[in-house]
Symmetry: C2
């Protein structure tokens, strides 16, 4: 029975989508069945697999707004990653975004109900959220078993962690008592920057053992994904970024088997 | 009479706040009177000047929700930048964010009316928007004379530019016929990354002379701002980041005097 993990951060550009794509790919390469759900109206997740926002297909929007069965909006990700599936957001206009968010504002459990039907088919379901804490992120936290917060290794991102914790506690109190912390992931750690060591120390001091041991380094190879339209392990397994996500997947599987 | 410029991008982490802070500081150091308005519920702008979200003061929230006069929520930015003022968002909880956005959803011209009163007091008013296109960003586009789009020099950011253009055209058609393009700014250009030259070329090909000649390089010195609580020109005028924002300010002043 799969676990649903929401990837959230109010701060933009911290590696939410990159973590969904690369962690998902690594876990699926290690024989786990993984589903990635694009919650973000930006459609960034879809772009990483060539399921462009100009496509003719349907996606999460049609499931949420029109009640289309979620099995109809699941797409394969990549020929070499048969265990990795994608649900693209498919939100293309401001009007569609209004309808998409409006449906979740009206019924906060809607996403949870939609995903219940496929939960048994996957080991991990990652929800790639937009950089905000209100809907669609709130609905993702209601549907999730736990949440993962990427923290860019910089002061601006560190300062917003408290807000995610508060928002998650509120969802736990009002809507979803099982919501737990999957973990905090330090991303884009840049060896060149003088503040990196200090920021890592402060994050570990503040969040203790809820921070993954694996740190994702800043690696320009990862920024090529939207252009190559595949995860980094498919085109450069030896890059620092790929090796870090492989290590993170191993760390997660070791922790899960120990539970 | 000042011009109101909304700084927008649906993509997160592309340098919206950094551009507001540093461009604003440079223009004010060049004797222009500048106001920065924190539209983003994250309160990132306030943090860059030590007006923390834990503060006891009032901000844009109180003007928008409670009708407090905007002159009451204007704060000085920095002892050495007397011509640079700040309006912090002051949105601290999800409830407040709901009230803040709800007020603008109900009356799309609200922000425009609030800012009209101070427009004559400044040469430039920059609105630092969150990474989304619906409110509060829509209200910012309604209030603005023009908009500035930072484009992080990476594929993921480039792909979302079309959406900003479409959203701005819609606001122009329905609410604000004077809304023009202030310019597109390439940010975080990393000399180490192989794709930088290609991405710059594609951006210039697609957006032509609406792209500023000045490019902001990736410079870790800029990421220290939330910790130092002052713009980069106040602590490292010779850094690549500071020199680039000084050059951008000069480019803008030259263009404005030519108009
Ligand atoms: N470890 C890394 N090293 C270098 N670049 C990275 C890394 N991780 C992600 N990137 C790049 O940084 C940018 C931001 O990453 P990404 O889009 O995954 O963040 P996000 O949190 O999903 O952003 P948003 O808030 O817009 O949803 C992208 O251009 C991505 O390619
Ligand atoms: N040119 C640059 N070089 C290196 N780091 C930068 C640069 N500009 C901004 N940064 C850093 O990158 C991160 C993102 O920048 P910033 O917060 O200004 O982006 P934003 O678009 O306002 O993000 P959000 O979408 O969350 O509002 C911050 O940690 C900032 O300090
Ligand atoms: Mg994303
Ligand atoms: Mg910002």
């Amino acid at each position: 029975m799969g676990q649903i993990i929401a990837i959230v951060s109010q701060k933009g550009g911290v590696g939410k989508t990159s973590t969904a794509v690369n962690l998902g790919a690594c876990l699926s390469a290690m024989k786990k069945r993984v589903l990635l759900v694009g919650m973000d109206p930006q459609c960034g997740l879809a772009r990483c697999f060539g399921l462009d926002d100009t496509g003719a297909g349907i996606g999460l929007l049609e499931s949420i707004r029109d009640g289309v069965a979620v099995s109809e909006v699941i797409y394969p990700s990549h020929a070499r990653l048969p265990r990795l599936d994608i649900i693209p957001a498919n939100v293309r206009t401001m009007t569609e975004e209004g309808q998409y968010i409006g449906s979740m504002d009206r019924e906060i459990n809607l996403l949870s109900r939609v995903l219940e039907r496929v939960k048994p088919d996957y080991d991990y379901i990652f929800l790639d959220c937009p950089p905000r804490l209100n809907n669609p992120t709130q609905a993702a936290l209601v549907a999730a078993d736990s949440y993962l917060v990427p923290i860019q290794c910089e002061y601006a991102s560190m300062a917003t962690v408290g807000r995610v914790l508060r928002a998650a506690l509120e969802v736990r109190r009002l809507h979803n008592a099982r919501l737990g912390i999957f973990g905090f992931l330090i991303t884009m750690a840049d060896k060149r920057a003088a503040f990196t060591v200090k920021v890592v120390q402060e994050i570990r001091l503040y969040l203790k053992d809820r921070v993954f041991r694996t740190i994702i380094p800043r690696d320009p190879k990862l920024a090529e994904i939207p252009n190559r339209r595949e995860p980094v392990i498919a085109y450069d397994l030896q890059s620092p970024g790929a090796r870090a996500y492989v290590q993170l997947a191993r760390e997660i599987l070791a922790a899960d088997s120990g539970r």
